[in-house]
């Protein structure tokens, strides 16, 4: 084997040098979906929110897909913090090859997620009123501050470990790239030479950022949940909502990371660095979080169901046996228990198995957000004769699809601009490992080309 670092560099830089036709085709496809979403939004701007499925519910279900998507995307943005910061703090070395992807998911998911409250506004033209007349007592202001802080922090946290790799791009890619890109690498590598003092400053900054970013990330999903928990509604009026949302966020974030990781590993030929080990470890993490979610469900529904306060019977009936029952039981069995089972069974505990589990988790977590928003709003607060029913219109569906396409699109653009794997961190780790015997007890050597499939 040639020195690990040299080979890695070649592999990581290859996609930045050449682009296949298939890439452009996929990119185009995504752009078309984004375009349909933008068109749908233009219809909404013209016709007002009357074009959504919320309008016919007679003001009873005033939030729908948009708020569901908001919660979901902000949720998956927790991929980055968890993998990079928490694992960095706990010195888990296996995370090194996947941190970059995780951090990028964070930034992209936040940007896409933050669009949704704006899309949901009745008066997007008055958006800036939130700054002009903002009241700190409103949960929306808390969200605004938490999310913008998190977005800024995540940008920094993504950028800092990028600097040495941007310098590598600057030094290695000079001939076959365009002038703007050369300028980009030169400017943003910030004069990195790999000098000892530069390394020291970078290491310090990284430690600082990872300590700062964890509480910020926790606060973000806590205040997202407080938009709901600060009301007196059955199903939202819960003190554990913050913790429940944060756990769900990290859970779906991990799943999203696994999915993105599996795709990029294939397209960018990173099988040698992102091995079964990363998948299985993240799978374990996902399974554990799934159990935490089971616990939260139990805790919430048993305490509510035992007392059966006003409103609860309607809520619990529709979730357990009524309109939302198929979604709910899919979430519990398909989204929490099945993935855990897949990861724990030795014969499905491989890349494909973990990937399937992660896809299930992502779908189930989106559905869970949907139940939290729509099923709760459906519980009557006044003695109505019948319950309202919400069915999203094509506008809402198209905007949702557009958002997912935008998410994928931004990730694809990203992989063409910077290496998706942190070259310098992985190389450093390889060097260290070659010097010392592996400490790892589990049977997955850190970066062996033979690993995985």
């Amino acid at each position: 084997m040639e020195t690990g670092a040299g080979r890695l560099e070649e592999l990581a830089l290859a996609p930045l040098r050449r682009t296949r036709r298939g890439y452009y085709l996929v990119l185009l496809g995504l752009l078309v979906i984004v375009g349909v979403g933008v068109f749908a939004y233009s219809r909404q701007l013209a016709g007002g929110l009357a074009v959504t499925g919320m309008a016919p519910t007679e003001n009873k279900i005033m939030w729908g897909l948009y708020i569901t998507n908001f919660v979901f995307f902000i949720g998956i943005s927790h991929a980055g913090t968890l993998i990079s910061a928490i694992l960095r703090v706990s010195k888990a070395d296996w995370r090194t090859p996947v941190t970059r992807m995780a951090e990028f998911i964070t930034v992209v998911a936040l940007m896409v997620g933050a669009l949704f409250p704006i899309i949901d506004l009745g008066r997007p033209d008055r958006m800036l009123n939130v700054i002009r007349y903002g009241r700190f007592q409103s949960p929306i202001l808390w969200d605004l501050f938490a999310i913008s802080t998190y977005l800024f922090g995540s940008f920094v946290y993504l950028y800092l470990p990028l600097i040495p790799d941007l310098a590598t791009c600057r030094d290695r890619l000079h001939d076959n790239i365009s002038a703007p890109r050369r300028w980009f690498y030169r400017t943003f590598s910030a004069g990195w030479r790999g000098a000892p003092d530069q390394r020291r400053i970078l290491a310090m900054a990284l430690v600082l950022m990872m300590i700062v970013i964890i509480p910020v990330a926790v606060s973000v999903h806590t205040v997202v949940s407080w938009i709901f928990a600060m009301t007196l509604r059955t199903g939202w009026n819960s003190t554990m909502f913050g913790a429940y949302f944060v756990a769900g966020a990290i859970f779906s974030g991990t799943a999203t990371l696994i999915v993105v990781m599996a795709i990029l590993r294939r397209t960018n030929h990173l099988e040698a660095y992102i091995t079964q080990k990363q998948f299985v470890y993240l799978g374990y993490l996902m399974a554990a979080l799934g159990m935490v979610m089971v616990y939260f469900n139990l805790s919430e529904f048993v305490t509510a169901g035992y007392k059966l306060e006003e409103g609860e019977p309607v809520y619990l009936n529709q979730v357990f046996t009524g309109t939302f029952a198929p979604i709910y039981w899919f979430y519990i069995f398909g989204g929490l228990l099945l993935p855990a089972l897949i990861v724990l069974m030795p014969w499905t505990r491989n890349v494909a198995g973990v990937l399937v589990a992660a896809v299930f988790v992502d779908i189930a977590m989106w559905l869970e957000r949907y139940i939290i928003v729509v099923a709760t709003l459906r519980v009557p607060q006044m003695p109505y004769n019948d319950l309202a029913t919400y069915a999203p219109t094509w506008v809402e569906v198209a905007i949702t699809a557009g958002a997912f396409a935008l998410f994928a699109f931004l990730i694809m653009v990203f992989v063409k601009i910077v290496p998706v794997i942190s070259i310098w961190e992985v190389s450093e780790q390889l060097e260290q490992e070659q010097g010392q015997p592996a400490i790892d007890a589990l049977p997955f050597p850190a970066a062996q080309p033979a690993g995985g499939s």
Partner: protein, 303 residues
């Protein structure tokens, strides 16, 4: 000792998160002054504290008259309420779970909560308390996030999903926050307690529209209330009839009271018990028809 109120907790939380101290306490909506005694002259400088009382013994949902609920209808007609919204909605609810307990009619408008979940959560202070304690909405500021609708435990807020249809005179009038005219697309509306009427010495339209005299409007400060036919001492009316507030346990501190009953005093009755039908579905929003008629007139005139 300083009592812990939700507003305080909220204020503290907001301050911690945003790093801005004591923003919550500057709003000053809390009612001013104590209660006037009967032998005292009301202080002209004191602020009114408007309240409403529904006598459920008299309210029969206008079933006995064979009409749709007239409070809702009068409010809708006089306040130019956009189609589909019922700022004052009369609900039919089971009196209790006993056999043959019967139906109770429960008229509900915005309860003018003093600890109002809707004003607490509004990000831009578009929904706010007037010094008198009435909750109003500034539709020129509202961004249409609908968090207040999610927060209102009485479902008493309505959204203009579409461009609201109103007569052209209303549409072209300058915006008035007290009457919420003209209605603005993409913003929230609700009962505004007719403060403009009260200031001018009149009664809210719904009070005037009630054929059963079942609605009282009054002022806690002066301890007086009227249903349009008689003037009563408010505190006595409430105490003697053991008035309650809807969902009192939530701590929203509404300014709307109910006197328990099921329409037993709704006289005269023109229908027997067996013929009862509630005509809520016959409520009218005439705006589209009016606009169409006016357009037709306008088209005919030049000819």
């Amino acid at each position: 000792m300083v009592p812990i109120t939700r507003r305080r907790v909220l204020g503290a939380t907001g301050a911690v998160i945003a790093g801005a101290a004591a923003a919550a306490l500057s709003e000053g909506f809390l009612p001013i002054g104590g209660r006037a005694r009967a032998d005292e002259q009301p202080d002209p400088l004191r602020l009114r504290r408007w309240v409403m009382v529904f006598d459920l013994q008299r309210c029969d949902g206008c079933v006995g008259l064979g009409l749709p609920p007239q409070c809702t209808q009068t409010c809708t007609w006089s306040r130019f309420v956009p189609e589909g919204q019922q700022w004052l909605e009369v609900f039919e609810s089971e009196l209790n779970e006993l056999p043959d307990a019967g139906i109770q009619f429960l008229p509900a408008l915005c309860m003018q909560c003093q600890n109002a979940p809707c004003t607490n959560v509004c990000p831009v202070a578009a929904t706010f308390h007037t010094p008198e304690g009435v909750v109003l909405i500034d539709q020129e500021r509202c961004i249409g996030c609908r968090l207040c609708m999610a927060a209102c435990p009485y479902d008493r807020r309505f959204f203009n999903w579409d461009e609201p249809v109103q007569p052209p005179q209303v549409k072209s009038s300058p915006y008035n926050v007290q009457t919420q005219t003209p209605a603005i697309k993409g913003t929230v509306m609700k009962c505004d307690f007719c403060t403009d009427r009260a200031e001018a010495g009149g009664l809210p339209f719904c009070v005037e529209g009630c054929p059963r005299d079942a609605i009282y409007y009054g002022d806690i400060e002066e301890d007086i209330a009227t249903n349009g036919s008689e003037v009563v001492q408010l505190s006595r009316l409430l105490n003697e009839n053991e008035a309650f507030r809807y969902k009192e346990e939530l701590g929203t501190k509404p300014r709307v009271y109910y006197m328990q009953g099921h329409g037993e005093k709704a006289l005269p009755k023109t229908k027997t018990e067996h013929e009862r039908t509630f005509m809520k579905d016959r409520l009218e929003w005439p705006w589209e028809r009016i606009v169409a008629e006016l357009e037709k007139l306008g088209a005919e005139k030049p000819a």
